[in-house]
């Protein structure tokens, strides 16, 4: 199984996903898109965990469990975040982060 894909490919994929996520996080103004970008970042980290675990320590399981843990946290985070976003939308009828500035100054 190791003959197939070299480790670097996983890492390159994860890096690309990470920076796509960062880019999306920084440039988007829509809260949903920002949330999606955060998910991308988290998943790129998951790929890293799994790849390293598989290639460097094949007989251990910490990497898998860690990524499971991250997925669980990400899921709950998404639930909370979407609840917040819905409330924001109800109040401001927008989910653009720049328009939600009532508490500023």
């Amino acid at each position: 199984m190791n003959a197939g894909i070299p480790l670097q490919y996983f890492l390159i994929l994860a890096t690309i996903m990470f920076f796509v996520g960062v880019y999306g996080f920084l440039t988007r103004r829509n809260l949903i898109t920002i949330l999606m970008s955060v998910e991308l970042i988290l998943n790129s980290v998951n790929i890293n965990f799994l790849a390293f675990n598989r290639y460097l320590f094949p007989h251990k399981l910490e990497g898998f469990f860690f990524s499971l843990f991250v997925i669980a946290v990400a899921a709950s985070e998404a639930a909370v975040a979407i609840a917040i976003i819905i409330n924001i939308y109800r109040r401001f009828t927008t989910i653009n982060v720049e328009d939600v500035n009532m508490m500023k100054f």
């Binding site: 960062v22 996080f25 920084l26 103004r29 920002i34 982060v97 720049e98 500035n101 508490m103 500023k104």
Partner: protein, 639 residues
């Protein structure tokens, strides 16, 4: 040895009444607070007469000389062992005499005010201020040292300010109060500098050491000279400047006529009988210093006095507001007192001028207070200050008429009234020392008689004006003080001042010098006669005279334009060339620096405020940029 410690209550009683009426007066009935103030004054009048009796007639004299007694003394501010400011009570002939003057006139004015101020708003405030004034004036004359005198000097200034501005809703009264306060403040600046110079050179504030001819203190500082005069002379001239301001001598006289905006009893008490003679009292108090170490300053005193008396007498001849005539007359009479001090020497018959000055101070207090209270009764009846609204009042105001006539005869120097004796002594003192000043004062005596009887004939004789309401005589509370003061004015000339109040405390002999007395009575009669011809009946002579000397008359009527000159100097010169540049500097340079600092901060903060946008994305961007930067540094630049 008589214990005089009780004299400390003479200033304290009015002070306590001031506190009481000032704090609780508005809760009391007006009549009650008036009675409290008046009864307080009755107490101190009794105490003052007891003190005078004990001091002059049963006190022991050492070497036939009245002693200066420190009846009470506390160290108030101790700076160093030697330098300390005391508060206390000093009894000597002039302070005891002043106690009599102040308490008598003040008591009379209190009684009079009960009638005059009846129903006025702020009745209790008025009595509180009167008590404050009595306290400060008594503290001033009883001062044991020059600094205490200065403190009370300012206190009488503030009470005068408060009382002139008593009708504080009248803009003219407010202006007059401010003017009186500011003008005297200028003079007091000189006084303070004088005190500092004097005490620096003599190393003492204390009157006892300062005025004892045997002490070395008064010979100090004579050697150092500045602009041809010794330091001592300069300091005494500066001290005299304070007296010039308070006594309304030229060139600081401008506040006194305006001060007539205050209630008339206040004018009688403060601006005729007591406070304005504080300058005379100051010179008399410091007299040994003047006589021994600053004779040049004494000349200044004499000439300022003589000039003011002539100047004010001329203005008084043209004024039509009766209170202003009396105000200028006050300036003129105080000029007399100053002149008498200025020509006096120290000790024995040489000190005739000193004695004459104190004598005139005493008689003047009586007759001028009487004149003002009489004027108050007239104003009360006619409701106008102007002579042109009056005439033929003798039928309606018999008591006022009679007492006013006595006062006029007194001030004109007609025997046997008191003014004759005191003025005669002054003229004699001037005659023996300075013939020029004697001539001036002789002319002033004639002018005095003229303008007083001009007033008298215009008010009580002349053509009867049609009055809207028939004038009626004042109530008893007002006529009784008039009668008492008329009595005092008439007979106080027989008090033997040469035995009691002299420059060195020793009695000396004087007699009426007929060569001076007869001409002075004659010129007084001449003045009265002229006034009768001009104003006794309705004639056109005064108007024709005014028309003939049109410019002179106008000049004098407008008080020689002194007020205008002051306004010109302050507004056009000082304000424009000093105050405005200073204000510009303050507004633009000082304030400008502050505003610049503030606005730079504001602009910068507006610029950088955007960084704290509250948007996580921007923060994250900075954070990630930083991380990337650090990563690059660690990878490529770290050794």
């Amino acid at each position: 040895m008589i214990n005089y410690t009780y004299t400390v209550w003479i200033p304290l009683v009015p002070f306590l009444i001031f506190i009481l009426l000032g704090l609780a007066g508005h809760r009391l009935k007006p009549r009650l607070s008036g009675l409290i103030g008046t009864s307080g004054l009755a107490v101190i009048t009794v105490l003052s007469y007891i003190t005078a009796w004990l001091y002059f007639f049963s006190g022991e004299k050492i070497d036939n000389t009245f002693q200066k007694i420190t009846a009470f003394n506390i160290t108030w501010l101790q700076f160093t062992d030697k330098l300390h400011i005391d508060l206390g009570v000093l009894l000597d002939p002039i302070s005891v005499m002043m106690l009599i003057v102040i308490s008598t006139v003040s008591f009379m004015v209190h009684i009079y005010s009960l009638g005059y101020m009846k129903g006025e708003k702020g009745f209790e405030r008025y009595f509180a201020f009167l008590s404050l004034f009595s306290f400060s004036m008594i503290g001033l004359v009883l001062a044991t040292n020059i600094f205490q005198m200065y403190i009370f000097w300012e206190l009488v200034g503030i009470s005068s300010y408060l009382l002139i501005g008593f009708y504080y809703q009248k803009p003219s009264a407010v202006r007059a109060a401010k003017k009186a306060f500011i003008v005297t403040r200028f003079a007091d600046l000189g006084f303070l500098i004088g005190i500092l110079l004097l005490s620096f050179n003599t190393k003492t504030f204390d009157f006892l050491t300062l005025t004892d001819p045997g002490e070395p203190a008064i010979a100090q500082g004579g050697g150092i000279a500045f602009m041809g005069l010794s330091v001592m002379t300069w300091s005494m001239i500066l001290v005299y400047m304070g007296g010039v301001g308070k006594s309304a001598m030229f060139p600081f006289h401008i506040w006194l006529p305006d001060a007539m905006e205050g209630p008339t009893p206040v004018s009688a008490l403060i601006h005729a009988a007591t406070m304005v003679v504080a300058g005379v009292y100051l010179v008399a108090r410091m007299f040994p210093v003047y006589a021994f170490s600053a004779p040049a300053a004494l000349d200044v005193v004499a000439y300022v006095g003589a000039f003011s008396s002539l100047f004010a007498a001329i203005i008084a001849c043209t004024q039509t507001d009766i209170k202003r005539v009396l105000a200028y007359s006050t300036i003129s009479q105080i000029g007399y007192m100053m002149l008498a001090l200025g020509v006096s020497g120290y000790g024995g018959h040489e000190g005739l001028g000193y004695m004459a000055s104190m004598f005139h101070l005493f008689t003047h207090a009586m007759f001028k207070a009487l004149l003002f209270l009489g004027a108050g009764a007239i104003i009360h009846a006619v409701h106008s200050n102007y002579m042109t609204d009056m005439g033929g009042l003798r039928k309606y105001l018999p008591v006022t008429h009679l007492t006013f006539l006595i006062a006029c005869l007194t001030i004109a120097g007609i025997p046997p009234f008191s003014g004759f004796f005191s003025k005669d002594e002054i003229l004699a003192a001037a005659f023996h020392n300075n013939k020029f000043l004697f001539a001036v004062e002789y002319a002033v005596a004639g002018l005095t008689a003229f303008y007083m009887f001009r007033l008298y004939f215009n008010v009580f004789w002349g053509e009867e004006t049609h009055y809207p309401k028939t004038p009626h005589e004042a109530p008893a509370t007002m006529t009784i003080p008039l009668i008492v003061l008329a009595f005092g004015a008439a007979i106080s000339g027989f008090i033997p001042f040469n035995k009691l109040v002299t420059s060195d405390g020793k009695a000396f002999e004087t007699e009426i010098e007929w060569i001076i007395a007869v001409p002075s009575v004659l010129i007084g009669l001449l003045g009265i006669g002229t006034a009768y011809i001009l104003y006794g009946k309705k004639t056109t002579i005064p108007d024709r005279l005014a028309a003939t000397f049109k410019y002179t008359y106008k000049w004098a009527y407008n008080k020689f334009y002194i007020d205008e000159i002051y306004l010109f100097v302050t507004k056009k010169i000082i304000f424009r060339y000093i105050s405005e540049p200073v204000a510009w500097f303050d507004r633009h340079i000082v304030d400008g620096t502050m505003n610049a600092i503030a606005s730079v901060t504001q602009v910068v903060s507006f610029r950088i405020r955007g960084f704290q946008s509250g948007q996580i994305q921007k923060y994250t961007f900075v954070f990630i940029s930083g991380v990337i930067l650090l990563v690059l540094i660690f990878i490529y630049l770290w050794p």
